[in-house]
Symmetry: C2
Subunit: 319 residues, 2 copies
C-alpha cells in the first residue's frame, strides 16, 4: 500500500523536487593532504554507493564533516561533484549553519543547482531556543533564499547540535510552507521520537538517522533511513528496505544483523572508522584523512575494529 509520502512523490512526478524516500547515504568527505575536500575520490565513492543500491546521497551532513568546512569550500566542492556528473535528483545537500547568512548562501546555491533538497540543521550555537525563535530563523532562511520550488528537510540531532527540532516547530513551518517543508532526519536515536514524528506528520518524509530503526520506521510509515553506515554497508541495508517493500514478513533477523554490524561501527568515532574501512578496502591510505577536530582511527583501534567485524563475518560491500 502506498504511503502518503509515496502518493505525494507520485503526484509530484519523478522530477528533482519530489520528496525523497528510501535508503540515503550521508557521504563521507575525502580530503587532500592539505585538508581541502577532494572531489575525485568522493565521486568514485558516490558512484559505488549508487551502484550498491543507495537511493540517494546527502552531501555535507554530519558524516561528511560539513561544519568543519567553510562555505566557500562547500560550494566549490558541490560544483565540482555536480560537474563530474553525479545525478542532481539523487543528491540532498546539508546547509544548516550557525550564521543565518551562511545557511542562506549554501541553500540558495544548492537549490539553484537543481538538487533534490536541502537538509538543514537549526542554528546550533545558542541553546534553549523557543519554537518561535526557530520558526523565525527558518522563516528568514526561506524568505532570503527567495525560491518557492525546493524541498527542505530538517535535521534533528540533539546530541550534537543541542538544538532539537520539535513537533511544535514542524507544525508552524508546515503550516507556513506546506510545499517546502518535506521531511525530517531524526538522529536522536530515540524510537519514541521517530514514531511520534511519523504518526503526527504523515505528510512528511521521516527518516531515522540510523538503519537500526529502519524496519520499525517502515512498518510505521516512515520514508526509509539516512544513515552513516551506508558508506560501508548499503547493500544489506537496501536489501531490508526492498524486502519490506516486496511484502516480506519475518525481517527481524535481517534487522538484527544490521544492528550487530552498526554496533561495532559506532563503538568508536564512526567517521574515522568508516574512512579507515574504505581506505583498507581500496588500499588507499588517503581515505583515512579527516579534518580537525576529528582524528584518524589509531592503529590499535583499527586492529580491534577489524577483529570485531571479522567475528561477525562481515566485510565492506559484501552482501
Amino acid at each position: 500500500m502506498a504511503t502518503m509520502i509515496e502518493e505525494r512523490a507520485a503526484q509530484a512526478g519523478a522530477g528533482p523536487r519530489a520528496p525523497i524516500a528510501g535508503v540515503w547515504c550521508p557521504v563521507l568527505t575525502p580530503v587532500y593532504e592539505d585538508l581541502l575536500p577532494e572531489a575525485t575520490r568522493l565521486v568514485a565513492h558516490a558512484r559505488w554507493l549508487l551502484d550498491e543500491g543507495c537511493h540517494g546521497l546527502v552531501v555535507f551532513g554530519t558524516t561528511g564533516e560539513a561544519n568543519s568546512f567553510s562555505v566557500d569550500e562547500r560550494t566549490d566542492f558541490l560544483e565540482a561533484i555536480l560537474e563530474a556528473g553525479l545525478p542532481r535528483d539523487r543528491i540532498v545537500v546539508g546547509t544548516g549553519c550557525c550564521a543565518l547568512t551562511d545557511t542562506v548562501r549554501l541553500t540558495r546555491h544548492a537549490v539553484a543547482r537543481g538538487i533534490a533538497g536541502v537538509l538543514a540543521l537549526p542554528p546550533f550555537y545558542y541553546k534553549n531556543l523557543s519554537d518561535e525563535a526557530l520558526f523565525n530563523s527558518f522563516d528568514q532562511v526561506i524568505q532570503r533564499v527567495g525560491e518557492a520550488d525546493f524541498k527542505l528537510y530538517l535535521y534533528h540531532f540533539p546530541s550534537l547540535s543541542g538544538v532539537p527540532i520539535t513537533p511544535g516547530l514542524l507544525e508552524r513551518l508546515g503550516a507556513a510552507y506546506p510545499e517546502i517543508l518535506a521531511g525530517v532526519k531524526d538522529s536522536s536515536g530515540d524510537w519514541n521520537n521517530t514514531r511520534l514524528l511519523i504518526e503526527r506528520f504523515p505528510e512528511l518524509a521521516i527518516f531515522p538517522g540510523a538503519e537500526t530503526l529502519l524496519l520499525p520506521a517502515l512498518q510505521a510509515g516512515g520514508a526509509g533511513c539516512i544513515s552513516a553506515s551506508c558508506n560501508v554497508n548499503t547493500r544489506q541495508i537496501r536489501k531490508l528496505y526492498d524486502d519490506f517493500k516486496a511484502g516480506a514478513r519475518d525481517l527481524a533477523e535481517q534487522q538484527e544483523r544490521l544492528n550487530a554490524v552498526r554496533k561495532v561501527l559506532q563503538l568508536r568515532p564512526m567517521i574515522p572508522v568508516m574512512k579507515h574501512l574504505i581506505a583498507d578496502e581500496q588500499n588507499d591510505p588517503a581515505w583515512r584523512r579527516v579534518r580537525p577536530p576529528l582524528l584518524p582511527l589509531p592503529d590499535a583501534a583499527a586492529r580491534a575494529l577489524e577483529s570485531e567485524l571479522g567475528a561477525l563475518g562481515w566485510r565492506m560491500g559484501e552482501a
Copy 2:
C-alpha cells in the same frame, strides 16, 4: 603584590601583545534592519564603555552574536570599527568557529590588524573530543596562522559549545606555545573550575565569564573578568576591581550588589535584555534588533525587567 600575570605584562611592556587583565566587555553587536552588523552604533557604544572604565573590549564573543555572522561579515566589521579609531591594544577578537579554515581566516585577519589577542572557542559541532583532538585542532590553527607574535585566549563555555577546554588541553598547548597561549575565559559559571584554572595555571590570565565571580577570582590571583553585563554595568564592576587593587577589604557587599543586578539581567535571554536596556537608555529602538536565532525581548518581559531593576534602584550607567 604583583601577580605573575602582571609581572609578565610588565615585562612585555605596554605593547599590544601584552597579556590582558582587568574588566573586559564582550560587546553587543548592533545590526541594521537587514541584520548586517552596524559599525557606527558599535563604535559609539564601545567609546562609552571605555569611558565607563572597561579595560578593553571583546568583539564577536557570545554576547556579540559572533557565530550568527559569516566570516566576511566579521572581517568587514572589524575593519570598519578599527578604521573608526577604536584602540587596537584594547580589543580582543573572537575567532573560534566549527570550520578550521574559518578560524584560521578570522585569526590571521585579526592578528594582522594588531589587536591585543584572539579569544577562541574550540570547534564546537562534534562532541566528546579528546585532549589530543583539541590540541591537534588548535595546533593546526596556530601553524596555519603562521604568526608567532599573538596572544591566544581559549574560551570555555561548555553549556553553549558542548566542548570543554580542559586542564589537559591547556597543559599541552601551553607547553607547545608558551608565548602564544595567554589565558582562558571561563564561562562555566563553576567557581571550582575557575579556581582550579587559576591555581594550576598561574602563568595564564584566567577570567571568569561573569562578574559574579570577580572578587573570588581576584583574591585567588585571577586576571579580572570578561562579562556580558559590562555592556550596561561597567562602572560598578570596574569599581570593585579598582577597590580590590587598591587593597580595600570588606568588598563582599559590592560583590553582592553586582550579583543582585546580574541575577535580574540573566533571568531572561541576556543579549536581548541588554540590547533592550541600551535602546531604552538611548531612545534608539534600532538597538533592540538581534540576529536569528535570537528574538528581541517581548514587551511583557521588558516591563517585568524594568520593574525588577527598578526595585533594585539600578539604572544603566549609574554608579
